[in-house]
């Protein structure tokens, strides 16, 4: 479904990602893990199109999208729930959700999606007229997820959905991610919380200083990682 081939991405003037390749199959939950500053977020932004890839290609559903601007990628079915949520805090919950469906014209389907999101996160329905900035951290994450889903994505990218949340909320969020995946949406997950992420994913990439260090099925990767840690004393 998504195939990234040898991209270089710069963040400002600093090269953040070098010759990175990865691919995500339809229906999968793929995970990208790595330490702080490894370039995970930059990778997602390049796939989303908010940062340009200086080299290499990005293909989505067999079509090359390397030069397509971000806002058009949304229409193609790619959505990113960014790190730190980046909801529009001065807009209401309802407006945030509506913006998720900014590019869509199919009113009926939008309504259906909105209802679905309300069943996933009932609390959003209660807070519909509240300013998003006044929500709690967990609620904001739900809103960010909901906003991403409102664009009716086929590929949903999540950037550290568990960041800064209480453990109990994290469990809830992960339940929802599973639910979303079950409904047929491909998920690309970026996490520092490796254990949580590995549990639900079917493929994993480990990033280090802008490159993929290792990849494979989560169990194997975990095993290899443990060995490496033992060897290198990391």
């Amino acid at each position: 479904m998504l195939k990234v081939d040898g991209i270089d991405v710069h963040y400002g003037v600093i090269p953040a990602v070098r010759e990175l390749s990865l691919s995500v199959d339809k229906g999968q939950v793929a995970t990208l893990v790595g330490a702080n500053g490894a370039g995970k977020t930059t990778t997602l932004k390049a796939i989303m199109g908010t940062l340009p890839a200086k080299r290499g290609t990005i293909r989505y559903k067999g079509e090359e999208i390397t030069g397509v601007p971000a806002d058009r990628r949304v229409g193609m079915g790619i959505a990113l729930v960014p790190e730190g949520r980046q909801i529009f805090s001065r807009l209401t919950v309802g407006e945030n959700l509506a913006l998720g469906a900014y590019h869509r014209k199919d009113k009926e389907a939008i309504k259906k999606d909105r209802e679905w999101i309300y069943t996933l996160f009932p609390v959003l329905r209660e807070r519909i007229n509240q300013l998003a900035g006044t929500l709690s951290g967990g609620e904001q994450q739900m809103l960010a997820l909901g906003r991403g889903l409102m664009s009716h994505p086929e590929l949903l990218m999540l950037d550290e959905p568990s960041l800064g949340l209480a453990p109990i909320v994290v469990v809830d969020i992960y339940e929802v991610i599973k639910e979303i995946n079950r409904s047929g949406i491909t998920v690309l997950l970026v996490e520092q919380n490796i254990n949580m992420a590995m549990k639900i994913s079917s493929y994993a990439y480990i990033m280090e200083t802008g490159k993929i260090r290792t990849e494979g099925a989560p169990n194997e990767v975990m095993k290899r990682e443990n060995i490496m840690k033992a060897y290198l004393g990391e």
């Binding site: 963040y11 400002g12 003037v13 600093i14 908010t50 940062l51 340009p52 980046q86």
Partner: protein, 347 residues
């Protein structure tokens, strides 16, 4: 290719600086004897503006305070030094008040240097007093407050008629400023700025510019450093004002208003904020450009052409090189063209 910077770093920088200054003054000497008074005047004027722009760079470039009040401090320096040096016999005709006893009495007129320094001191005192409340503001709020300070100074200069003669301004100020005074002051200013920014003091200033909260965590008191930078900047602005008064021989309140403030800001930003060479390059470019284009303007009879070309070049430069001619792209997302403010800036 011959790498100048590598060679630079090998030689002792201090020696290099001394040689540079010697070469500069040699060039100035040649210029002052070889060229007509008109060209020498323009060269001198550039020196005066360098004092102003280099000092503004200290606050705007290195400390990240976007001050628009520089012309106000120049006004203080200009009026102070002009009033102090005004010849005694001319005071009657020009209705300039005689000096009070503690400044030397009615029969005294100050020599240039102490008057100049006094102008700088007055400007610095004003900056210190006003800075204490105003420097707590950030970004555009500080810009407007400093602009307000400038308007206040202008309003006072306009209305304290017994002291400043109001809108008619002060004329026939002795024209003491020559090429040596101008460049002497310019060299001192640039040297002081250079010393300041390369000291622990300067590192603190830059830390504040990059991230005030992080600087505070490291135990830097932002207000103290901002105030010091603001005061030093104002001191040299006062000097620049004094030089300006004694090169043009005439000042009026509106000479130190929006036009001058914006012009100096343009010089600094065009050359490159936060670099030593930036303001100098900006000043030279802007001033030379104006005078080079003048004959063209007169030959075509299209008055205002200079401004048109100037604005056009300004726009093009800023679009091509937003960090200024000598500026370096700052690392990280904030300086980057792509992400920049459209990116993750939270406010």
């Amino acid at each position: 290719m011959f790498d100048i910077r590598a060679t630079f770093s090998k030689v002792d920088r201090r020696l290099m600086a001394v040689i540079l200054i010697a070469v500069l003054f040699l060039c100035l000497w040649v210029a002052s004897t070889a060229f007509s008074k008109y060209i020498v005047f323009i060269i001198t004027l550039i020196g005066v503006y360098i004092v102003a722009s280099a000092s503004l760079n200290l606050t705007n470039g290195y400390t990240g305070l976007f001050s628009l009040g520089h012309a106000g401090f120049m006004a203080v320096g200009a009026y102070t030094s002009a009033l102090l040096t005004f010849p005694v016999k001319g005071r009657e005709i020009f209705v300039i008040p005689k000096l009070p006893m503690f400044l030397g009495g009615p029969e005294a007129a100050w020599p240039f240097l102490p008057a100049l320094v006094m102008g700088g001191v007055f400007a610095a005192i004003l900056a210190a007093v006003v800075g204490l409340p105003v420097l707590r503001l950030r970004g555009h709020y500080l810009s407007v407050a400093s602009l307000g300070l400038m308007v206040l100074v202008t309003a006072l200069a306009m209305n304290l008629r017994n002291l400043t003669r109001g809108s008619i301004g002060i004329n026939s100020i002795p024209t003491y400023t020559n090429i040596w005074w101008a460049y002497g002051c310019a060299v001192v200013t640039v040297y002081v700025v250079w010393r300041v920014v390369n000291s622990s003091f300067g590192r603190a200033m830059k830390a504040i510019r990059e991230d005030e909260i992080a600087a505070r965590v490291q135990g830097i008191n932002p207000l103290k450093y901002k105030l010091l930078a603001f005061t030093i900047g104002a001191f040299f602005a006062g000097i620049a004002g004094g030089l300006y008064a004694h090169i043009s021989g005439a000042i009026r309140p509106y000479a130190f208003s929006f036009n001058l403030t914006f012009q100096i800001v343009i010089m600094v930003v065009l050359g490159g904020q936060g670099t030593i060479s930036g303001p100098i390059v900006g000043t030279v470019l802007v001033t030379v450009l104006r005078y080079v284009l003048k004959p063209l303007e007169e030959a075509l009879g299209v008055y205002g052409l200079v401004e048109l070309i100037y604005a056009l070049l300004l726009i093009i430069t800023m679009l091509r090189k937003p960090e200024g001619i000598m500026g370096r792209k700052s690392g990280g997302p904030r300086g980057g063209r792509w992400v920049g403010s459209l990116g993750g800036k939270k406010s």
